[in-house]
């Protein structure tokens, strides 16, 4: 079993190695969240098992438009903070086209976090090629803390799902995941995502997922 640590657990006496999920006081490094303790060559970190999504610049996220303003859109990104998508950051904006014809309340989008100011006002952009308005496929929601496991080491888990099921998959760092493709295969992919979420702290997950997919495909064919 992987080592789970709790806030306040002393995990190192070398402040130089302190990574994600830790904090330093004096020469001591403590965990600040509940998570899996991970040690690399010169860094230690705590991979969260619970908690809300806290945006960081460059993150790919999936959001839902909550408000159409005069200069852009307010977007719920499943975090303590709403994000703002300015007019100029949406390539679909055209002169003369009304804002709510481009994106309306309730529309889902894939976007990237462009900037965050010190007061946590989040600006997002749709200029990257991965970004789009979502008009088909399925969106599933998982605990944002488990996103790293769905992606896997260097994207291994996503690659596995894509190659085994031939579905499109975009994992938002904020815990929302877009799946698109054959309806039955998307259904399997959704189950797989939940399986990973449930077993995020366990070992041998990739093998179990691979086996699960193959078994499901057999049942369907």
């Amino acid at each position: 079993m992987r080592k789970i640590v709790l806030p306040g657990d002393l995990i190192s006496t070398n402040p130089k190695v302190a990574g994600y999920g830790t904090y330093v006081e004096g020469d001591k490094v403590y965990a600040k969240i509940i998570g899996i303790f991970e040690q690399a060559d010169n860094s230690i970190r705590v991979i969260p098992l619970k908690g809300k999504y806290s945006p960081s610049v460059g993150d790919t996220i999936i959001g839902i438009v909550r408000e159409v303003a005069s200069n852009g859109w307010n977007v719920d990104i499943n975090s303590p903070y709403q994000a703002f998508l300015p007019l100029g950051e949406n390539p679909e904006t055209k002169p003369g086209k009304k804002l709510n014809d481009v994106l309306d309340i309730g529309d889902a989008i894939i976007a990237k976090v462009l900037s965050i100011d010190p007061r946590m006002r989040v600006t997002i952009s749709m200029k990257d090629k991965i970004c789009r308005a979502i008009r088909f496929g399925r969106i599933v929601a998982i605990n944002p803390a488990r996103v790293p496991r769905v992606i896997g080491k260097k994207g291994s888990m996503i690659k596995l799902i894509k190659s085994e099921l031939e579905v499109q998959i975009v994992v938002g760092q904020n815990g929302l995941i877009w799946l698109n493709g054959d309806r039955r295969k998307v259904a399997i992919a959704e189950e797989v995502v939940y399986l990973i979420e449930e077993g995020a702290h366990t070992e041998g997950l990739t093998d179990r997922v691979g086996e699960f997919i193959r078994r499901r495909k057999d049942v369907q064919t």
Partner: protein, 242 residues
């Protein structure tokens, strides 16, 4: 309830406990679906449930702090939680308990990580015995960890009372009502050790030396409770593994 003639007979307390013994404790984690973190605790006959929501957007907006998260704590007793029906809503006692408990949690929550947002801690006392505020803090502490909120460490709370000149850990109702003093604590526990005091109240009559002894006794009890809190949190992951 009337005042017992003696609180300690043959070294044992009215409920059979030794002076330095806690009441039985039961802790369950993640008991509520809607909350971001939750915990149910029984400490003696206390039955309390804690829920943590957040960090989430702070409303009404004027309560927002541009530089850090706002912490709210609501201690509430259900009308049926005590012998005689309690009128619903906050009374002065609940207001005070909520205030000092909130301040205790403010010492461990990493507030600057979530400006403009709020963390709500709600604790409901479903059945009150003595020491409901300590049970609530223990539950809230677990619920905060369960919500994945960044904190310095865990809070563990316990009271010490003085009866018949003897200090007793985790007082029961009779000791609380008729004892000579009552002293609730909450400690910050870090690196497996009690580090400092996050909540402290006292009423009754104690000498300087007795207070020193009371702290030592409370620390002993708090470590035992801390281990149970820890065990309860870890248990969810062991079960999933099977």
């Amino acid at each position: 309830m009337s005042r017992p003639d003696k609180f300690i007979v043959d070294g044992k307390r009215l409920d059979g406990r030794l002076p330095d013994q806690l009441r039985p404790i039961k802790i369950e984690v993640d008991v509520l679906k809607r909350a971001d973190g939750s915990c149910y605790i029984e400490m003696g006959k206390n039955k309390v449930v804690a829920a943590v929501y957040g960090p989430r957007e702070a409303f009404p907006r004027h309560i927002q702090d541009p530089s850090k998260v706002v912490v709210r704590y609501r201690y509430n007793m259900a009308p049926f939680s005590v012998e005689e029906r309690k009128r619903p809503g906050p009374d002065r006692r609940s207001v005070e308990i909520s205030k000092v408990s909130k301040e205790a949690f403010e010492t461990i929550i990493m507030k600057e990580l979530f400006p403009r947002s709020v963390v709500d801690i709600f604790v409901e006392v479903l059945q009150a015995d003595a020491g409901s505020r300590t049970a609530c803090i223990n539950a809230a502490s677990v619920a905060l960890v369960d919500a994945g909120i960044p904190v310095k460490g865990m809070l563990t709370s316990v009271a010490v009372a003085k009866v018949d000149g003897t200090l007793v850990l985790d007082p029961m109702k009779e000791e609380d009502n008729f004892g000579d003093a009552d002293m609730p604590f909450a400690f910050l526990i870090r690196g497996g050790k009690i580090e400092s005091i996050a909540l402290l109240q006292m009423d009754g009559r104690m000498t300087k030396a007795e207070i020193k002894d009371a702290i030592a006794l409370a620390k002993k009890g708090a470590m035992e409770i801390y281990n149970l809190q820890r065990e309860a949190i870890m248990k969810q992951f062991v079960e999933e593994e099977e």
